[in-house]
Each structure stands twice: as C-alpha cells, then as structure tokens.
C-alpha cells in the first residue's frame, strides 16, 4: 500500500470520526428536535420497526446522525423492555405505532413493513402498521 493510499484511508477514517463526533453532539445536546429535523430534510424517514431509516443515499454526516439517534432509541427500548417484560423488538414496534400517528409531519417519509418508502400526503393520517392493532 503506497503512501498516497494510506493518506486517503487515514483521511477517510478521520472524516468518519469527526462526523460521528458531531452527530453524537447533535443528538446528545438534546438537539431538541434532532429526529424532527432529520425527518424534515426529506432524506430520512420513520420505519415501522421503530427506527429512522435513510430514504435514499445521504452524506456521511446525515448517516452518522441517523445512527446516533437509532442508538439512543434502542437504549430507551431496551430499558423499557427490561422493565415491562417485553422484547426490544416489541417495544420498538409499539413505539413506531405512536411515532407514525403523531410524529411524522406533513409530506415526510415513512416505511411500513413492506419496506417501501412512502410520503405522507399533506396532513392525511399516516397508515397504521399492521401490528398496531
């Protein structure tokens, strides 16, 4: 591996670390609306499994922010699951029901278990995932 290649790899890693670091700060400071901001960009949508997903391709920074939020969500789901005798997947899916009902803004993206990204039609209600009862 010549010096040039090594330099490129080091730069790539450095960039990823910086992106990850700023993403963590973005979420940890309670970016008071970190998830809402991401949904509003149109690059990120809510999934029926309780996590954020990328609608198309996105920059490393956006990906890092999405990852940071999903990690945070999983921590909350894990906590609630252990307290209430449910699996993490169930808590996550149950949360998705309410996220779909109340947090996906007009014209924002969501994805049901069929995996297809859809856009909320203005202020029409978002369809309720099957497991929500």
């Amino acid at each position: 591996m010549n010096r040039h290649v090594k330099l490129m790899i080091a730069a790539g890693i450095g960039l990823a670390v910086v992106a990850g670091g700023t993403a963590y700060a973005f979420v940890a400071q309670g970016g008071d609306a970190a998830a809402a901001q991401l949904r509003a960009t149109g690059l990120v949508g809510e999934q029926a499994d309780g996590y954020l997903g990328l609608v198309g391709s996105a920059s490393a920074e956006v990906r890092a922010q999405v990852d940071a939020i999903n990690i945070q969500r999983r921590a909350y789901y894990t906590d609630l699951a252990s307290r209430r005798g449910a699996t993490i997947e169930e808590v996550a899916a149950a949360t998705a029901c309410q996220i779909f009902a109340g947090r996906v803004g007009p014209n924002q993206f969501y994805r049901l278990p069929d995996g297809v990204w859809r856009r909320r039609n203005g202020s029409e209600p978002v369809p309720r995932p099957g497991h929500c009862g």
């Binding site: 970190a34 969500r73 909350y76 609630l80 997947e89 169930e90 949360t95 099957g130």
Partner: protein, 78 residues
C-alpha cells in the same frame, strides 16, 4: 493347538463373541434406528427471519402509556 478368539475368553467363548458381534451390529445400525439423517450441504437460499411475526399485540396495547411517556420525555430522539 493355540486358542483362537472363539475359545479364548473364559469358558463361554461363544457368548463373548456374540457380545462383540452384537455391539458391532448395534453400532452400525444405530444411525438408522435413531432415524437421524444428517444433511451436510447448506440450503441454497438464505434463511429469512421475519421479525414482525414475533410482536404480540397485547404487548403493544399494554405498553401504550409507557411509550407515550417515552416519546413525550425525549422529543429530540423521537
């Protein structure tokens, strides 16, 4: 005349031999008797697990309040 295996073991040489034959037969027949056929080749399609099947609806209902609280307390994350 030297003793052969048929006459070597104690007086009851035939029993000893039959025991050995019986054991050998059992060892050979065991896989067939136990009915286990081991498939060594991997399946040609990946195994797909659909996690959605494992969500109990009663859990979704039971957790409604807790989830509502969780979302309200952490607006930045949800």
């Amino acid at each position: 005349m030297t003793a052969t295996s048929l006459t070597r073991k104690g007086g009851d040489a035939s029993r000893w031999t039959m025991d050995r034959i019986g054991t050998a037969l059992l060892a050979a027949a065991a896989p067939v008797l136990l009915g286990g056929c081991v498939q060594v080749t991997a399946p040609d399609r990946p195994i797909v697990i659909d996690l959605n099947i494992n969500i109990r609806q009663e859990v979704v209902v039971r957790l409604q309040e807790d989830v509502r609280e969780l979302i309200e307390r952490n607006p930045g994350v949800f």
